[in-house]
Symmetry: C2
Subunit: 145 residues, 2 copies
DNA sequence: CCACTTTTCTTGAACGAGTCAAGACTTGGG
DNA sequence: CCCAAGTCTTGACTCGTTCAAGAAAAGTGG
């Protein structure tokens, strides 16, 4: 069951970053992989579909750990709760619908590392540029309130 | 005030956007103008320095109203509470220190409207691109933990 | 395969920025 | 000056997230 060949090898992913392989972590990893941009509540539900008795705290903890390890990435658009995805390390950004909060991935038009060098960084040592495009998703823009 | 001719006329700003001129709003506008990137708690304190008995709720409400009217702009970097500034409409972005949370303004290297056209917007109608540069401020980068 | 050490998970309570609601007060127009 | 609409005060409350203590599981060395 957890050795599904078509899906990423989550066990191996955990070992690769020197994290212990636990069922909560596997369930969370699989849940995030299956539902990109899902919020924590949904992920708790999804993780429980795989491991019925996981505590919400274990999910929160796993998400933090996996985020720090770089296996998942968290995004928190203003006005939204935390959301997670497994697509990491490829410098992609997000479009967020102002109306329904839906999120989609976008690659920057510039192609890579957009605007990473600010004109005047005030002495800050910058290591990441996070871009959020705000607008309306197809559904919401075609169905104005 | 004190002969400062460059100080914005906050009363006029409110009238220009068809908002009622109330003392809480003036106090909040002035507070935000005086302390760019301040969080709500600081702004409540700053507003009370000008108008001792403002309720926190009036400050929250004013901030929302002023934000909607475009007189102030709010920013909420992940892991931080809401912060506000009066510099609006000039497409500038922010550098946020991962360590101390300090924020500074930056103009995008591209000069204007950076990356506003995503490569594939998935049908979203985009109206704004928000950029946050993450890194370490001068103090934190020179004094590693 | 077992005992041990460390990390992780469970349970349950707590926190705090922000929001809601009802009634009193202001603002600005007439 | 008066009034209706819009704002503010007060105080309770929500809910995503975090904290804490003890129980359980993972990995390690014997």
């Amino acid at each position: 069951m957890l050795g599904d060949m078509t899906a990423p090898d989550f066990q191996q992913q955990l070992r690769d970053v020197a994290l212990r392989v636990t069922r909560p972590r596997l369930a969370v990893l699989e849940a995030v992989h299956a539902s990109p941009h899902a919020d924590t509540e949904s992920l708790i539900a999804a993780a429980r579909a795989l491991l019925p008795d996981v505590s919400h705290q274990a999910v929160y903890d796993s998400l933090h750990t996996l985020t720090q390890a770089g296996l998942v990435r968290s995004i928190k658009p203003a006005g939204s709760v935390a959301r997670y995805e497994t697509r990491t390390g490829d410098n992609h950004h997000h479009v967020v619908c102002r109306s329904c909060g839906d999120i989609a991935d976008v690659d920057c038009a510039v192609g890579h590392v957009p605007c990473l060098t600010a004109s005047d960084s005030h002495g800050f040592v910058i290591d990441e540029a996070e871009v959020i495009y705000w607008g309306l998703c197809p559904d919401c823009s075609s169905r104005p309130l």
